[in-house]
Symmetry: C2
C-alpha cells in the first residue's frame, strides 16, 4: 500500500445507530454518500477493506460489502476484481453546489390589500373534506389512473349545469377542459394558438398583468388595447390587427368597468367578421352586489369565445381548479396541449368540486360570501371617503377590489409602512399626470382591518 | 306594427316553474337565452311587450322587465328608448355549433397490461383522507392563497428528508419544485431549456413516448440515442451533439435495464466535460424486488442533473403530484416557468402528501406494495413461460412491467381480443426482423387476471 495516496481511514467518523429506523447498511450508504458529496472523502481515495471497516464499526462484513456494492452501482465508488474499493473519480467535492441564496418572499405585510384574494378564512373546509371523503369512497378506480386530459366527466357535467345556470353560458362537456386555475387554462390556450401560427394577442390596458406574462411565456406578443368606462374599446381592438383578444367583460380588471351591451355586440361582430377568437376571463363575475351578474359572453357566441373561469375567487386560489369552455373547432387542440402540459387535473379534487356543486354547497357559499363582501366593500368605500380626501373610488359594486384614483401617492412609503397595494401600471386617459390608480382589494380583510389599513395608507403615503 | 316582421309571439313556449330552485326572472332569462342561441328566436325578431308577456305567463311585469334588462346587458336583446325589445342581430341561430363528435376513449379492455399503472385499488384512500382532514384543519391560511410557485415549504422539506433517505438524492428545498406529476415537471423544464436557446434533446431509443411528445410540444427536437443491456449508450450520446438528455437510469423504460456503474460515471463525465444537463426520470425506482434500489444519479452530481419523480407509481397517477430537484443555476428559471404554467400545485394535496411522508404512511404503503408487485411479477413470468413459448422475458426484478420479446405477434388481433398491450416502437439491435417487444404491465392486475390475460394474448395474437 502506497502511504502517499489518500486513504479514507479510521478517520471516516461514521456514526451508525443500531435499532434506528434505517437498516445498518442503509445508514452506512447514506453516510458514505454524504462524505463523498461533501468532499470529505476525496476523489480517488481508497476505502478501508470491508473486513477492516466492519471490525472498526463492530458490524458484520456483509453489511459493509452490501453498502460498497450499492454505492458502486450508483457510481460513488469504483471496484474491480481484486483491487481496493475507491471513491470514484467524478464524485468529487469540487462540484459542491454554490451557497443557497436566502429567499425572501417579502416581509409580512401589516395591511394587505391584495385585489386577487377572497376571504381565505371562509374557505368551506368542512364541506370540502366531506366532499373529498365521499368521492374517495365512491370514485371509480379508473379515476385514480390516467384519466381524460379534459378532466373527470363527472365534473364536466356538473360544470355544464352550473355555468348554464349561474353564468348564462352554453357549455358542452365535450368541449370543456378542466385546468389548474385561470393561469393554466390561459397558458395552454396561448400555446395552442402559438402552434397554430398566431403570434400576437390583444390585452386590455390597463389590464391584468398575468395576461401579458403568460402570453409572452407562450411566445405571443401582447398588444395593448385601451379600456374606458364601457370596458374594452372595440374600435381600437379592430385597429390592432390582432387575431385574438383576452378580455374581462363582466368586471374589467383593474378599472372595475362592465363591458357595455353595445361593446359586447361590437366585440362579437369583430370576432365574426375577422374570423378571430375572444378569450373571456370570467374571474369574479358571480360576485356582483347590486344586481345579477352579467351573463358570460360565451353564451352569445360559443364558437367565437374561449371562456375561462375558476374557483380561485369562488373558493380559494390554493384549490387550483378552473375550466375552459372552448369553441368546438379548438377543443381538440387545447386538449392535446393540456395532455402534454400535465395529463389532466387531480381526480379527487375534481370529483370533490363536482360534489360541492351538485349538493348546492357552492351556491350556498357564494350567497353567504356576497353578503360579506358587500359589507366589506362598503366599509372600504367609507374608509376611502373618510381617510383619502381628493381621491375617487370607481367601478361597479362587484368583485374583490375597488379601483381608487389618488391625486398623490408614494409607493415606497406605503411599502415601508407595511401596506400592500396593487398599483395599476397604465392608467386611462383624462387623469392628471400625478394621479395614481390603485386596485384596493378587500376580500381577505375584516371591516376593522379595512379601516385600519386605509388609515395607515393615508398616513404613510397619500 | 308590421305584420310581416318576425314576432316572438305567444308561441314562445316558455315554461316557468314557481317555487323552483331558480327565481322566476332567472328562469325566464335562461329560457330566452336558450331560444336565442338555438335560433328559435330569430335575429331581429321583436319580443312581446313586457306587459303582454307578463300577462301571458301570469307573472309580474317587473320580472319580465328584469329579464329583458339582463339579456340586453348581456347582448342577447337590444332595446332603445320607446322602441320594442328585439333579439340582437348577432345572436343568431345560424352560428349554431357543429354537431359534437362522439368520443370514444377506447372500448373497455378485457385484459389491460398497461405498463404505467400501479394497483389502483390499493391506493391508500383512508390514509389520504385522514391526511387531508388534518391539513385542512391545520393548514396556515396563506396556503389557501397564491403560494410559492415551487410548492408548499412543508412538502419541499418532507421531500428533502424522504428523497435523501429513499433515493440517495441530494435535495435542497430551495431548488425543489413541486409539479403536477412527471409530465408537467418535464414540460416546464423543456420550455425553460427552449427559452435558453436549447433546441434538441437526446431521448432513449427505445424509450418512453411521452418524453418525445412533451419535448416536441415545447419546441425541442428529440434525438434518439440507443439503449443496450447496460442502459443508455453514452458514446452514442456524445456523438449526438445534444446539450441535454433525458434518461431512466434506475429502470430503463421499456427495456428494463439498469444504467451500469460505468455508464453512470461516463454519463456524468459527459455532462461535466460538455457543460450539459441530464434529466433523470426516476419514475418507479423504489419498486425494486431483488435488492435495494439504485440511488438517484442526482445525488452524484446535483448541479448536472434535474431529477424528476412523482407519486404516480408510488400512490396513483390520479393524484397528479411530482417534484423536480433542479440544479441551483436552473431553479430560478424553472420556477418562473412553473409560475406562468399554473402558479403552483394545489395546496391541500401538497400538505397531505407531506403528512403522508412525515407519518411514515408512504413508506408502509411501499413496503406492502413491493411484496404484492413482486408476487404479481412472478405470476407474469410464470404465465409467459407457460403460455408464450419462444418468447423471452427481460429486465430486472423491478417496476410495474416486464419487457417481453415475441417471435411473432399480431397487434390487431390482440386489440380485437380485448387485450391491451404496450408495443415498443424501436427495438434494439440483435433481434430478428419479426420480433416484437412488448412492455407488459402487471401492477394493476390480480394474479388470476395476469394468467388469464397472458393466455388470451397467446390464443389471439402469438
Amino acid at each position: 500500500m502506497d502511504e502517499r495516496e489518500p486513504v479514507a481511514g479510521p478517520g471516516l467518523l461514521l456514526v451508525l445507530r443500531r435499532g434506528g429506523a434505517a437498516a445498518l447498511h442503509e445508514q452506512l450508504e447514506q453516510e458514505l454518500r454524504e462524505q463523498v458529496r461533501s468532499g470529505r472523502l476525496q476523489s480517488g481515495a481508497r476505502l478501508p477493506s470491508s473486513r477492516a471497516l466492519a471490525a472498526e464499526l463492530g458490524i458484520s462484513r456483509g453489511v459493509v460489502l452490501e453498502a460498497y456494492a450499492q454505492l458502486t452501482a450508483e457510481g460513488y465508488l469504483t471496484a474491480s476484481q481484486g483491487a481496493p474499493t475507491r471513491v470514484a473519480l467524478l464524485a468529487s467535492g469540487e462540484r459542491e453546489r454554490p451557497p443557497v441564496a436566502a429567499t425572501s418572499l417579502g416581509a409580512r405585510l401589516a395591511h394587505d390589500f391584495d385585489p386577487a384574494l377572497p376571504d381565505l378564512a371562509a374557505f368551506p373546509r368542512t364541506d370540502w373534506i366531506r366532499a373529498l371523503r365521499t368521492v374517495a369512497r365512491d370514485a371509480p378506480l379508473a379515476a385514480l389512473g390516467h384519466g381524460d386530459p379534459r378532466g373527470e366527466p363527472g365534473l364536466r357535467d356538473a360544470l355544464m349545469a352550473y355555468l348554464a345556470r349561474a353564468r348564462g353560458a352554453a357549455p358542452e362537456p365535450e368541449h370543456t377542459i378542466v385546468c389548474a386555475g385561470f393561469t393554466q387554462a390561459f397558458a395552454v390556450l396561448c400555446r395552442t394558438l402559438r402552434s397554430r401560427g398566431i403570434d400576437r394577442i390583444a390585452v386590455e390596458a390597463p389590464g391584468y398583468g398575468q395576461h401579458r406574462l403568460v402570453a409572452e411565456a407562450a411566445g405571443l406578443e401582447p398588444i395593448e388595447v385601451a379600456v374606458d368606462e364601457d370596458g374594452l374599446v372595440v374600435d381600437a381592438l379592430a385597429d390592432s390587427g390582432c387575431e385574438v383578444v383576452v378580455v374581462t367583460p363582466a368586471h374589467q380588471f383593474p378599472t372595475g368597468a362592465v363591458l357595455s351591451s353595445e361593446r359586447r355586440a361590437a366585440l362579437i361582430e369583430w370576432a365574426e367578421d375577422e374570423d378571430t377568437l375572444i378569450v373571456e376571463d370570467d374571474y369574479d363575475s358571480e360576485l356582483r352586489y347590486d344586481r345579477d351578474a352579467v351573463g358570460a359572453l360565451q353564451g352569445l357566441a360559443p364558437e367565437r369565445v374561449a371562456h375561462i373561469g375558476s374557483v380561485s375567487k369562488r373558493l380559494a386560489p390554493g384549490v387550483r381548479l378552473g375550466w375552459m369552455l372552448a369553441p368546438s373547432w379548438l377543443s381538440g387542440a387545447v386538449t392535446y396541449e393540456k395532455a402534454v402540459a400535465d395529463r389532466g387535473a387531480p381526480a379527487l379534487d375534481q370529483l370533490a368540486l363536482a360534489e360541492l356543486i351538485g349538493r348546492g354547497d357552492l351556491d350556498r357559499h357564494l350567497r353567504r360570501m356576497r353578503l360579506r363582501y358587500r359589507t366589506r366593500r362598503e366599509a372600504l368605500m367609507r374608509a376611502i371617503e373618510r381617510s383619502l380626501p381628493g381621491s375617487r373610488a370607481d367601478g361597479i359594486a362587484a368583485g374583490l377590489f375597488v379601483p381608487v384614483m389618488l391625486p398623490a401617492f408614494d409607493e415606497r412609503a406605503a411599502a415601508a409602512a407595511g401596506v400592500g397595494v396593487h398599483v395599476v401600471e397604465a392608467v386611462g386617459v383624462g387623469e392628471g399626470e400625478d394621479t395614481t390608480m390603485l386596485a384596493l382589494g378587500f376580500g381577505n380583510l375584516s371591516e376593522r382591518g379595512i379601516a385600519d389599513g386605509v388609515a395607515a395608507l393615508a398616513r404613510a403615503a397619500c
